[in-house]
Symmetry: C2
Subunit: 296 residues, 2 copies
């Protein structure tokens, strides 16, 4: 399969859904909805929702039923970017080639838009079972995965670890832990949520979880490499920011080539996890290669 075609097709599906997700809203809170839409619809690779859809497909479930849950992952990812970009955190002015949310709407609105996007993720996942077409116990499991992957023992925890570690002389184990929490746990949730919704067996769920952990690590290594080697045009945000902030990265331990090799090892492991799956897992196979070979 052609991964670029596949990605484009899935991105379009997801973007169509996301366009309808944020309602016009109450006019008294007009700027909230504008601010949410600004960040949600401002491009983005949609990796996490694509992983959710692909994991569901790998266990034999396709279609629109999965879409609200896939979208929930993108809402959470988007909120995390909006909050991370704030002056109180990374203080970034550009994101996906455009001014960051707080540069356009101010810090207060950016905080609230992030809060609303995060909360809306759970609104999307908790539609009544009769409408959602997903058994209620599965919905509950999915929301638990989402909350744990996104929260104190997941993405938010990782963000705090990252802040605490800035300008500290951390070792490789610590770096790996930070990345695992900051990026890995939400990617893991994305894949597990798709698997659970699709009705994966326990063995399938374990293999897909392993796949997710492997590509999550590869994703972060590739991000570190891109931060060093990419241009502002390719990345849609400032390049070389890690080095400027004195942040430890995979290339700072292994060099650029060593980091790239490590990412390839992860991908090989991830692919072996899919050995017992048929060709409905081809999107997951292609995605594994994509995460390390992408240009942004």
């Amino acid at each position: 399969m052609d991964i670029q075609d596949y990605l484009k097709q899935q991105q379009e599906k997801i973007d169509t859904f996301l366009t309808q997700v944020v309602p016009p809203g109450n006019p008294l809170a007009k700027t909230l909805y504008e601010s949410m839409q600004y960040s949600l619809l401002g491009g983005g690779k949609r990796i996490r929702p694509i992983l959710t859809l692909a994991a569901a497909e790998a266990v034999g479930c396709q279609g629109q039923l999965i879409m609200p849950y896939a979208a929930a992952l993108e809402l959470i990812h988007t909120y995390s970017l909006v909050h991370d970009d704030l002056p109180a955190m990374d203080n970034d002015d550009y994101r996906r080639g455009r001014p960051t949310n707080h540069k356009v709407y101010g810090d207060g609105l950016a905080i609230l838009a992030g809060d609303a996007l995060l909360t809306m993720a759970f609104e999307l996942c908790s539609q009544p079972a009769t409408e959602s077409g997903i058994p209620a116990d599965r919905q509950v499991n999915v929301m638990y995965e989402l909350a744990v992957g996104a929260g104190h023992d997941g993405m938010v925890g990782g963000q705090v670890m990252d802040i605490q570690a800035e300008n500290q002389d951390i070792d490789l184990i610590t770096l790996q832990t930070i990345h695992n929490y900051k990026t890995g746990k939400l990617i893991r949730a994305a894949v597990r949520i798709g698997s659970l919704l699709g009705g994966a067996t326990q063995v399938q769920l374990e293999n897909l979880t392993g796949y997710a952990e492997d590509i999550g690590l590869a994703f972060q290594i590739a991000d570190d490499v891109l931060n060093m080697t990419g241009t502002r045009e390719e990345l849609g945000k400032d390049a070389g920011t890690d080095a400027k902030r004195g942040k430890k990265t995979y290339p700072s331990f292994y060099g650029i080539d060593g980091a790239r090799d490590l990412a390839e090892d992860c991908i090989s492991r991830a692919l072996r996890r899919l050995d017992d799956f048929d060709d409905r897992a081809d999107p997951l196979r292609s995605l594994a290669n994509y995460v390390v070979h992408r240009r942004n």
Copy 2:
């Protein structure tokens, strides 16, 4: 019943539960857990979780099963205070008689602690049905109520409305809408969640929803009055801040006495909603009176 005794008893139960809710956590994110605990365990009237427990009791359901959901409401309330107090929003230095979260941990950590508290609310509500003892479809309904009450079309929406209206010459209808979103919708969710968990009939749910809407309004009117008449010692935060910010309040439309009368009317309406309930609704009855007669 003695409302002060009842409140004290329920607060202790809830505080005991909340103390165990935030785990020690990963040492690499130590400050996150400290920051979450600082705000979650820093006192507070626990009105929302008490309403959840009392609503469940009114329809005949008591006990520890309800506690995680009640706690979830307090987590959401706490996160909203942490974010609202930030310099980018209300810029308050004191809360519940202590320095606000960002004054102790910095703005970045306060934002992330708020994010983690919000996410953890959904973690608490999505424990597997086998462990939670609540049917999964009820859990899904509860999480939907929570997400809608807390999010863009609820509390967060109200916060944005409030910011947009500052220093504007708003009319009474607009004031009422803002308060309804900012405070009313989460109180409504607290009562509905208790009712749903307790297995309320459709008629009971409607009456309890009406009760919640009436006391929610009364609660906000009382808050406006307290902001004008209370002292910093009573309130645990600065008094008279609304007038300083040029905010329109119920007393600015009705005068202090007029606002108090209006709150009493709401309480009478709320009590009539409970006419068909037996003495298990007595806590709800006492709470209705308490929300307007409290001193902080």
